[in-house]
């Protein structure tokens, strides 16, 4: 109990041979994950790439994807971190049920998620009809609907990883902060959150990536309108209906942009594990 975790020396680890029982499946798994990408790269009509990138529809879809995925991540942070805190730090009846409910969007086919969102936020939905009658607001077919669809599908990723980080964090620090005069909100904001920042960042990255690739719930709930609700995955899917090569080019653009964004964020925000 009296261990003082203040000095951790990097341990010099002896280089040992990786056991074949781990190496072989790892290599096979790696090949399985990367070969489809290689397939895309081989089929890609590289010469078309600059022309495609210059198309206003492609740029609009790319821009919309980045903006909405970022907004969905922000919304997930604002709503998801408090949920994770409640799950990890407080003891309320039905906590297990809540935790199970949170994983629902993970197992629900996104298209079904989209229908479910329509039933709630649609024009005739429980909340949607009220919004329509009271404020004249309709959500489907707007960029806000895209953000909602993405948030619905991707927030669980954030919650799960933030809750894990909270459970791993030493609550002693929070007690120490309290004895120094910090109320619970200050403790959370000034101590808990900074300490679990790597976990929050990892969760946000997962969340953003999932939001960026979101298709099923988006096309069902938000529809498809260029510049307003047509994100890159929707553009890719529709391109696939008429022009396989265009679809490949769009996929690669989405892939490249997301990899560049994630790599630069990783350098800046998260310490490489």
């Amino acid at each position: 109990m009296s261990t003082v975790g203040i000095r951790t020396r990097p341990r010099a680890r002896a280089r040992r041979r990786v056991p074949a029982a781990l190496l072989l499946p790892a290599l096979i798994g790696l090949a399985f994950l990367t070969l489809p990408l290689v397939g895309l790269l081989i089929r890609a009509p590289w010469t078309d790439m600059p022309a495609r990138l210059a198309e206003p529809e492609v740029l609009a879809a790319l821009r919309l994807s980045l903006v909405t995925a970022t907004a969905a991540t922000a919304l997930s942070l604002v709503l998801g971190v408090p949920i994770a805190w409640l799950l990890a730090r407080s003891d309320f009846p039905g906590r297990r049920v809540v935790r199970a409910l949170i994983t629902v969007p993970l197992v629900l086919p996104p298209v079904v998620g989209g229908v479910a969102l329509l039933l709630v936020f649609g024009r005739n939905g429980i909340v949607g009809s009220w919004l329509d009658e009271t404020f004249g607001i309709t959500i489907p077919f707007t960029s806000a609907a895209v953000v909602l669809a993405m948030t619905f599908v991707s927030m669980p990723f954030l919650i799960v990883s933030v809750e894990g980080a909270l459970r791993g964090a030493n609550e002693g620090y929070e007690e120490a902060a309290a004895t120094l005069g910090a109320d619970r909100w200050t403790v959370f904001w000034r101590v808990t959150l900074p300490m679990i920042a790597p976990g929050v960042a990892a969760g946000a990255v997962l969340c953003w990536a999932r939001a960026l690739g979101e298709f099923g719930a988006t096309i069902t709930f938000a529809g498809n309108f260029p510049g307003r609700t047509q994100t890159m995955p929707l553009a890719v899917y529709l391109a696939l209906q008429s022009d396989l090569e265009a679809a490949i080019v769009l996929s690669l653009i989405l892939l490249t942009v997301s990899v560049v964004v994630l790599a630069s964020l990783r350098e800046r925000w998260t310490a490489a594990p």
Partner: protein, 383 residues
């Protein structure tokens, strides 16, 4: 005493500290009752402002529980906590039902500073901002809080370490930052949980001396929780020994070392202690043995003597009136410059002998010896 150490006025806005009109002496007044399954802590404690009390006891005695209950990190089953006349915690007496909370001040408004055993310096803040954390919460602006923190780091001798992260500090430095962090809030009560336990022997010596200096300078009350009697004797004005959740002995260093009241305390202070019945100069112990003592006494009594007062012989010694008995050596350990010999027999006792004597007597476990203690070396006092 450090000049000006406590001269900073308490600038905490809306400070809830009120000296009571009735003239309650400033300091801590508490009765802690915490029940956790089989374990029950029941501790009545008063600590005057400016006084340092050590809670001394073996592991599991309830010292840390007491400390956490005072800080408001653990809830009371019964009793109260009052600091400088202000009630922080009180459980209404039970009448058949669950204990109700009559008064409850959360940890952040108790004005109780804590130095945790593993320091718990915030890893994401440097030393300066760790110390400035408390003053910031008291409403000081960032610059003012940092200035106060810098002053405290100076006082603990770490003025040039402000920009270090906790990871980059040695154990002793981290301990001093933790102390500065707790003191920077100007607490009315300072709690230290095993403040030196995590340090190596060398660092411990320096840090203990410095900690003593700061405790002397602290105008509020202070409680040091420790299982190390040396820390307790060095740091505190008064000792409270806890065993199984209860105070078994209380007093200053002198009275406790001179007159231990339990085996645990006797072992702590290095005395052989026995319970018996005195009649004049003779104390009949609970076993068969009767000891001859210098001070005449009647009634239930303790008899105590230091291990260094015990002499060992291969044959029964004769001559001056001594207490002698036959004993079996059960263990020999190094103890300072001497060797400590554990004896079994009618009296379980420890004897300190020189290495030369051990060599001469060729002592080894299992060996039969004669033990002798002069009557003048045995202290007898009523229970």
């Amino acid at each position: 005493m450090n000049a000006g150490q406590q001269s900073e006025p308490d600038r905490r806005p809306g400070s809830e500290v009120r000296e009571t009109d009735s003239g309650t002496p400033p300091g801590l007044d508490t009765h802690l009752v915490v029940e956790r399954g089989e374990f029950r802590l029941d501790l009545r404690l008063r600590v005057a402002a400016g006084e340092t009390v050590a809670l001394l006891g073996p592991n599991g005695a309830g010292k840390s529980t007491a400390l956490r209950a005072l800080a408001g990190l653990e809830s009371l089953s019964d009793g109260f906590v009052a600091l400088d006349g202000r009630e922080l915690d009180r459980v209404a007496s039970r009448r058949g039902g669950e204990p109700g909370r009559a008064q409850w001040v959360p940890p952040e408004r108790r004005r109780i500073g804590v130095v945790f055993q593993d320091y718990l310096l915030f890893p994401h803040l440097n030393a300066l901002d760790n110390v400035a954390f408390g003053p910031r919460r008291q409403g000081l602006r960032r610059a003012a809080a940092r200035a106060r923190a810098a002053g405290w780091l100076d006082r603990v001798g770490l003025g040039d370490m402000g920009d270090r992260r906790p990871k980059q500090l040695s154990g002793g430095q981290a301990q001093r930052v933790a102390l500065a962090r707790a003191l920077a809030t100007n607490p009315a009560l300072l709690l230290l949980d095993e403040p030196l336990a995590a340090l190596d022997a060398r660092t411990r010596l320096d840090t203990r001396a410095e900690l003593h200096r700061h405790l002397t300078g602290h105008t509020g009350a202070a409680i040091v929780v420790t299982h190390d009697p040396v820390d307790a004797l060095m740091l505190a004005d008064r000792l409270v020994v806890i065993e199984d959740g209860r105070a078994v002995q209380e007093g200053d260093a002198e009275s406790i070392t001179a007159r231990p009241r339990t085996d645990y305390v006797a072992r702590l202070v290095g005395l052989n202690l026995y319970r018996g019945r005195a009649e004049g100069h003779r104390v009949a112990l609970d076993g068969d043995l009767t000891l001859t003592v210098a001070d005449p006494l009647d009634g239930p009594a303790f008899a105590a003597f230091a291990p260094s007062a015990v002499a060992l012989f291969l044959k029964r010694p004769d001559g001056s009136p001594r207490n002698t008995w036959r004993a079996t050596v059960s263990g020999i350990h190094r103890h300072g410059d001497n060797l400590r010999v554990q004896l079994e027999g009618p009296l379980r006792a420890a004897a300190d002998v020189t290495p030369a004597a051990v060599a001469q007597l060729r002592l080894e476990p299992g060996q039969q010896v004669w033990a002798a203690v002069k009557a003048s070396e045995i202290r007898a006092y009523p229970t």
